[in-house]
Symmetry: C2
């Protein structure tokens, strides 16, 4: 199984100032590529917390994507933290520096040069994505992050996409729970989830979601779920 | 320092099917109460991952809030996972059962009774919030979660609220980075962050955010930041 984890770096999400938009984009793109996102951690701009999250998740997953903390200001400490995590010095990546100098021309300055620094041995991909071991270092700004992710995804290992179907039930999930557990047992290779929804401010029903790489098994699960829902509607 | 961590439990966020709305609400409410949210983890409906996240974060924080996985269906395993995490048996909480029986009347069933189960010794608060050690177990549906959190927040330890101000700069952050680092050094007790923003699809400027419990120190930081931005505008 090809797996990924996400580390969202930045005080602004944990303080409530901004809502993260990056996890959802990464999760959907991985799903299409058959990569299972196993965990996400949101950590502040604190070196020891970035190091802990990156090391723990790098050891357990095929890939790690970090977002945030790669700008030019004092609170951008992702590159140095990841270098420390892997016991590498932080060095100027000459190819990255050349790209920045060509882009900024006369407007190059110390702050902009900082963005050419990465862990020694880091691989530079398109769109200025640095890779350190199995960790891909992406921007925090969603539009920029999306371009970076899209640039590297074709280079990653992939698997059959994870498909999903949804059967909508206008009954509470606890009216379905017992039969649903039986259906899950009968198609144990399909992952079935139950998600109450709330369309008018009160809980009004349940989305039954089945997920599998195998379209045939998914079709069987869909029939069973639909039959369950139909039986409750009558 | 009073700290909190958040564990969002559920495959649906990691698969990209839904966008989480709970972290932002919890973060803002904690901020008002002076509680520092240090970390958030998003984990799937897998017992060993729920246990790992809850134990790690419970040991490091004053409070942990979990959301999701407390419904009546087979994929709702939060209560049993948290009981296992703390080596407690999962038992029927009699007071919770009575509340459910009174509420559902004739419509009580096995699935609904499951929602009265919690770790032995769990404390039951209003709105059916269970507390196990320093862990508060909340629903995943945002409207329900919000009611539960609002019910327990007044009972928690609190501190002076964490205040913040934002100075908006219509220049790129790397034009400000050097002076910004100096400002951060001169008011080292105030936390200053720099967040590029993007109003028309391209990065157009930078929000400079200062955060502190001390309104006087915050006012000084605001003056310094405003002076920096004004100097760039001229």
């Amino acid at each position: 199984m090809i797996t990924a984890a996400v580390v969202l770096i930045g005080d602004e999400v944990l303080s409530g100032r901004t809502k993260d938009a990056n996890l959802n984009y990464i999760a959907n793109k991985c799903q299409e590529k058959g990569i299972v996102v196993q965990e996400c951690r949101v950590v502040p701009d604190k070196e020891e917390m970035i190091i802990e999250a990156v090391l723990a998740l790098s050891a357990k997953n095929t890939y790690v994507f970090t977002t945030g903390g790669i700008g030019s200001t004092h609170d951008d400490i992702t590159q140095e933290s990841i270098a420390k995590a892997f016991n590498k010095p932080l060095v100027v990546h000459l190819e990255a520096l050349k790209i920045l100098e060509d882009y900024y021309g006369d407007r190059i300055n110390e702050a902009r040069r900082r963005m050419a620094r990465a862990a020694e041995g880091a691989v530079l991909h398109e769109k200025m994505v640095f890779q350190v071991q199995n960790v891909f270092i992406l921007a925090g700004i969603p539009t920029v992050m999306q371009g970076m992710l899209d640039a590297i995804l074709p280079k990653l290992e992939h698997d059959d996409p994870i498909l999903s179907i949804t059967v909508k039930a206008y009954v509470y999930e606890n009216e379905l729970a017992d039969e649903l557990a039986l259906i899950q047992q009968s198609v144990s290779d399909v992952s079935i989830g139950s998600y109450p929804f709330d369309e008018t401010g009160t809980v009004k029903g349940t989305n039954l979601v089945a997920r599998s790489r195998d379209p045939k098994r998914l079709a069987i699960a869909q029939q069973l779920l639909q039959a369950l829902v139909d039986s409750k509607a009558s």
